[in-house]
Symmetry: C2
Subunit: 227 residues, 2 copies
DNA sequence: GTAGCAAAAAATGAATTCAAATAACCTTCA
DNA sequence: TGAAGGTTATTTGAATTCATTTTTTGCTAC
């Protein structure tokens, strides 16, 4: 029935069709190709991914369990629109996870991993001085990624990735809306973090990261409500 | 084809078959009805739940994404057996989540919620004095549940529940194996926690809970490796 | 012109069907 | 007796089919 070529070469298959399309579908949603609360007809997705409805629906169930989409009985899938309360809750959770990552990183990271974070920090600071927000944002993301990598905890990493996916859209919006004062404050917080990491002060790192995310949350809420 | 009655009355349907069987299937796995690494033939589960393979497989995919089971391509589902490293990682994550719950509870809990926790604490202490481990364990679980409820954060609650499911088996084993010294220590930690909650000292509560879970982890690892 | 209802069209939920891969079994030969 | 190979049976992966629900469309009545 399906003569079209799949977009993914058959060489790099992930075992099952379901495992193949899940990352693609997740990326499609996270990337923001569908408006908030927008409906996603199964038929279109099937054609897009070149699979039948069975594996597609399995993937949708997984995305729903991750909180990325909503599955209303008999009424299809919608991308989950986040209320202000939900955004706040997700940020608090993210703050807790970052705090944990900071703690574990202090305990477990290698000298090389610290050096890498320090280097990223310097690069990010330069972007800040130049007023280069995209560059700053990119380095910032990488620092947090490096932190989770240094924490060396797979379940933590997975949980954080999932949360990150759910927050990506609003997070990006927040970055754009970030005002100069908050930006300056964020840079200062990053300096404190680097110092705590250097001293392997796990409690301090946790506290700094928690409050850092808390303030980011406040900035996002302020920006988001002023829509 | 299927004339048998479903075990669940049709009155309390969850909209779709998938939503109906997912909790049942999860309970079945968590309860420990299948040995570690044991295979789960789809056919049997279908008969047990009274559904066809389609909704069952959707549910299995979700359980796999929750980390409760493993889905090997063309080789079916197995309950995920946890290595010592994985157990340690899950406990560290749980410690971070409990710490967060403590923090948020300090910020948000009502007087009634605190009173309830205090009451549970008293009950638990009595069980401790009597040497009633099951009673202690039960109250202990309820205290932690009450803590997460007081934290009032849905994503946190969900994440913790999922983790709890993954750890339930080993956690129960740990409780049985817990020695007297560790038990005494745990009770002391709970007293400190209650005090921190009373003072609404979020940082203290977080620190106490984190270390509490860390020590539980150590006890579990010690017990588990001595199998 | 609009509100309400009916019928048709479309989309979803789930069982069945078909194909491919794995596992079990049985024969054969050393 | 035991191992190797091939054949059958079982199990899984995925497409198709069928039934049910929702949504849309169009008609009628007011």
């Amino acid at each position: 029935m399906n003569d079209e070529q799949t977009l993914v070469p058959p060489t790099e298959r992930g075992g099952t069709l379901h495992n193949e399309i899940l990352p693609q579908l997740r990326a499609f949603v996270v990337e923001g190709n569908v408006p908030d609360g927008g409906r996603i007809p199964e038929r279109e997705l099937c054609e897009m991914l070149g699979v039948s409805r069975t594996p597609l629906r399995e993937a949708l169930k997984v995305l729903a369990s991750e909180g990325l989409i909503e599955l209303l009985p008999n009424r299809g899938a919608r991308v989950k629109a986040l209320s202000a309360v939900e955004i706040a809750e997700l940020f608090d959770l993210m703050a807790g996870l970052e705090a944990l990552a900071g703690r574990l990183a202090c305990e477990k990271m290698t000298a090389e991993q610290f050096d890498r974070i320090e280097e990223l920090h310097r690069s990010m600071y330069l972007h800040y001085l130049r007023g280069d927000r995209p560059g700053y944002f990119s380095d910032n993301q990488e620092i947090h990624s490096a932190l989770f990598a240094a924490a060396d905890n797979q379940p933590l990493f997975e949980t954080a990735r999932s949360l990150q996916d759910r927050l990506r859209r609003v997070r990006y919006a927040a970055n754009l809306g970030e005002n100069g004062e908050r930006w300056k404050e964020a840079v200062r917080e990053h300096e404190l973090l680097l110092d705590a990491l250097r001293r392997r002060a796990s409690g301090d790192a946790a506290e700094i990261l928690f409050n850092h995310l808390r303030r980011t949350k406040a900035a996002v809420i302020a920006y988001d409500s002023g829509n």
